[in-house]
């Protein structure tokens, strides 16, 4: 799905200087301007999953397969097996973990263990699993407030996520972030953001870092990519467009993953967007735009593979629109009265977990019993997570002022001439400056 850059642009040199900061020449201006030409292929109706690989040799194509109006075919239309047994089991386990975890969150919330705004991911598991399971640990992912499952897919232990949701000090963010602010330095999950769109520039920055490492710091094998997840509502927000421009302009290794679940709380995508086909907005900025069935983890995975490889090769960003659906309301506080029951039923019939299960059994990749074992294992993991979170301590008063600054000298110098943070009783006090 490469855009047709004129061939000269592809001669991007990598700075190989030992001491890049002093000795580097100005790198070629390749990343600065977009002087490419784009040509479009007509929308294709052929097998979705192979289209990407087929077109690699020729020039541009913005592949689209708009299937919203069509009845959903069975889970996988490809006759060749797309995954090995191991991969299938990994995908299955990840999706089941996501679903079981979120269901437990709902229970815990109504039992008064979890508070505030909690946004559950039920139904969208194929997107998280399909993309994130292809990443290396060093790759980054940036999410929104609907981030529990992204955190789990990225490798953050269920215990730490549950603890964080309970507001305990053993949570991944020490209880300071909560449902909408999941972070993990170890697993390179850069958030968790409450305002829509504000994570996209952060993701763009992470992608910029990756390019900087390669070209300025001389880490020639640095090919980390960044995934930015966000919804259909965000696609009407300025930050989205600004970042599409920045990423395409500088060919940043980022994939913009739109989880189009058709609803932004109670605002239907159709009522909010002049052209609801979000994938089309990619080519307008000079990057490929792809639409994929987000209820089918195998299809998502195939598209994700191509987009991630593209980014790793240094060819720049991709915009992927995943048509998906959330089975629950926007958050646990949402009565979910506006959505048509027929629409909900339509997507419930396309449950990604059921679909994968069917695929694996029909293609003899796994037996029903094996899958049941996985489900049982996940139940235990989630129970254990709840137990761990329950037994963990609440944050003490002394934690209130921790982490406001990376360097606590930022609290300033007190009247006695000492830095406030030097006072051993400081964290029990106030943050007045």
């Amino acid at each position: 799905m490469a855009t047709a850059f004129s061939s000269s642009i592809h001669a991007i040199q990598h700075s190989r200087c030992e001491n890049p900061s002093i000795a580097s020449k100005k790198p070629s201006s390749a990343f600065l301007g977009s002087t490419h030409k784009l040509r479009f292929a007509a929308p294709s109706r052929s097998a979705s999953v192979c289209a990407a690989t087929r077109r690699r040799s020729s020039s541009v194509s913005a592949v689209s397969e708009v299937i919203k109006e069509k009845k959903q075919k069975s889970a996988s239309s490809s006759s060749n097996l797309l995954i090995t047994k191991e991969e299938g089991l990994e995908l299955y386990e990840d999706m089941v973990l996501g679903r079981a975890f979120e269901d437990m969150c709902a229970q815990m919330y109504y039992r008064g263990k979890m508070f505030g705004f909690v946004h559950l991911y039920n139904g969208q598991e194929a997107v998280s699993t399909g993309f994130i399971k292809l990443l290396k640990k060093e790759d980054s992912a940036v999410s929104t407030y609907r981030d529990h499952v992204h955190a789990l897919s990225k490798g953050v232990p269920a215990r730490e996520v549950m603890s964080e949701l309970f507001g305990k000090t053993t949570g991944c963010c020490r209880g300071q972030g909560g449902s909408m602010h999941m972070f993990s330095k170890e697993h390179n999950l850069l958030g968790g953001f409450a305002f829509i769109g504000e994570g996209i520039p952060v993701a763009t920055g992470a992608a910029f870092s990756s390019k900087y490492r390669r070209e300025v710091l001389g880490e020639a094998d640095c090919d980390h990519v960044t995934l930015a997840f966000f919804g259909d509502g965000t696609c009407n927000n300025g930050q989205f467009y600004e970042c599409l421009n920045l990423a395409a302009l500088w060919k940043l290794p980022i994939i913009f993953v739109v989880e189009n679940n058709l609803w932004a709380i109670g605002m239907s995508h159709m009522r909010a967007t002049s052209d609801p086909q979000i994938w089309k907005k990619g080519p307008a900025f000079g990057m490929p735009g792809v639409h994929v069935d987000g209820m089918d983890v195998l299809k998502v995975r195939e598209v994700a593979k191509e987009a991630i490889e593209r980014a790793r090769r240094g060819e720049g960003p991709t915009l992927v629109e995943c048509e998906t659906y959330r089975f629950r309301g926007h958050s646990l506080a949402d009565p979910d009265e506006l959505r048509d029951p027929a629409e909900k039923a339509h997507y419930a019939a396309r449950d990604p977990i059921t679909a994968l299960k069917k695929y694996m059994i029909e293609n003899n990749l796994a037996k029903e019993a094996e899958l049941k074992t996985i489900e049982k294992k996940i139940d235990e993991v989630v129970e254990d997570a709840v137990e761990f979170a329950d037994e963990s301590p609440q944050p003490p008063r002394s934690q209130l002022l921790d982490n406001v600054f990376a360097d606590p000298k930022g609290f300033g110098i007190g009247p006695d001439g000492r830095y406030r943070c030097e006072d051993p009783k400081f964290t029990e006090g106030t943050a007045h400056v």
């Binding site: 330095k185 992608a207 600004e242």
Partner: protein
């Protein structure tokens, strides 16, 4: 930038143009277009990009072509810059510097004459400093870049032409310390940025009239250096704050509260705060002059304070 290859600059026209006030002149030639990055006009996004880069190991210096433009980046500065270290439980640090020219210039019109210190000062998790001389500009810039905290560095549009001898050897100033400009006995005058020069001009007049003002450039707008300030208050017992910020919710207002809370017993008179008028800066030269504090007003205020 020589010392640390992770330091990079991003902003509008910082590269080939050398910066709207030439602060980054020739740096792109030396370090390349990726390290001195000319961005499109998208403040919120490139500030956010700087924050993401800071989280993943770089040390960006983000320039607002005019500080006022950073209002468009307020989302990123408040939510992400200030908060992410805390909401991530300390996992991610954001060693970013956000800087640019601000303040009232010469008839630049209301939107290019903004003082954003007051808007940003409440954001938890950031530090703010204002430079006023070539010496402290260099020292504070270095300190800000080396700091692990996000720092907003306020420069002033009218101060870029100052010339001063500065040391050849390396020096780094302290972000949290105030600067004693002129020791004195009668009154403590607290100021920052361009108003320092109006104060010093007024000081000349005051000295001729027999007063002995102590002038402190607070430099650190958040947090306040209450040690230097406190020692001065304990000595003179009278405080005058002179700032270019607006009166309402400005730096002076916070400073007044802080001094009153901490040093109330040492004050012989109420604190006087001279700030800019709470008006959008007018274009007409005469009106603009009346918007900011002038030396004559400072002289009058000191005389009244010392009665």
């Amino acid at each position: 930038m020589d010392r640390d290859p992770t330091v990079c600059v991003m902003g509008e026209d910082v590269g080939h143009y050398g910066g709207s006030y030439k602060v980054t002149k020739d740096l792109a030639n030396k370090y390349g277009d990726l390290r001195v990055l000319d961005t499109p006009i998208a403040e919120n996004s490139f500030t956010g990009m700087g924050i993401g880069a800071a989280m993943t190991g770089l040390r960006p210096v983000v320039e607002g072509m005019n500080m006022g433009f950073l209002l468009l980046a307020f989302n990123q500065i408040s939510n992400n810059c200030g908060m992410l270290h805390y909401t991530s439980g300390g996992q991610f640090k954001i060693p970013i510097v956000i800087r640019g020219p601000g303040g009232v210039g010469r008839q630049l019109g209301a939107e290019h004459s903004q003082r954003l210190e007051s808007y940003f000062q409440s954001i938890p998790g950031i530090q703010m400093v204002a430079c006023s001389t070539p010496y402290n500009a260099k020292g504070l810039m270095k300190a800000a870049i080396r700091s692990e905290n996000p720092v907003i560095l306020f420069e002033h549009v009218l101060l870029y032409n100052l010339k001063e001898r500065i040391p050849d050897e390396e020096y780094v100033l302290n972000l949290e310390e105030a600067e004693m400009v002129r020791p004195g006995e009668h009154v403590t005058i607290l100021t920052y940025s361009r108003m320092r020069y109006h104060v010093m001009q007024a000081a000349k007049t005051l000295v001729n009239k027999g007063y002995d003002p102590e002038v402190i450039d607070i430099r650190s707008l958040k947090p306040f250096d209450l040690h230097t300030i406190g020692n001065s208050v304990k000595k003179t017992h009278r405080v005058l704050i002179v700032e270019e910020c607006m009166r309402t919710g400005g730096i002076g207002a916070s400073l007044t509260a802080a001094i009153t809370e901490n040093f109330h017993d040492y004050l012989d008179a109420p604190i006087v705060c001279l700030s800019s008028q709470d008006v959008p800066t007018p274009y007409a030269g005469t009106l603009e002059n009346w918007t900011v504090v002038q030396p004559a007003q400072i002289v009058t205020a000191v005389e009244q304070l010392c009665q």
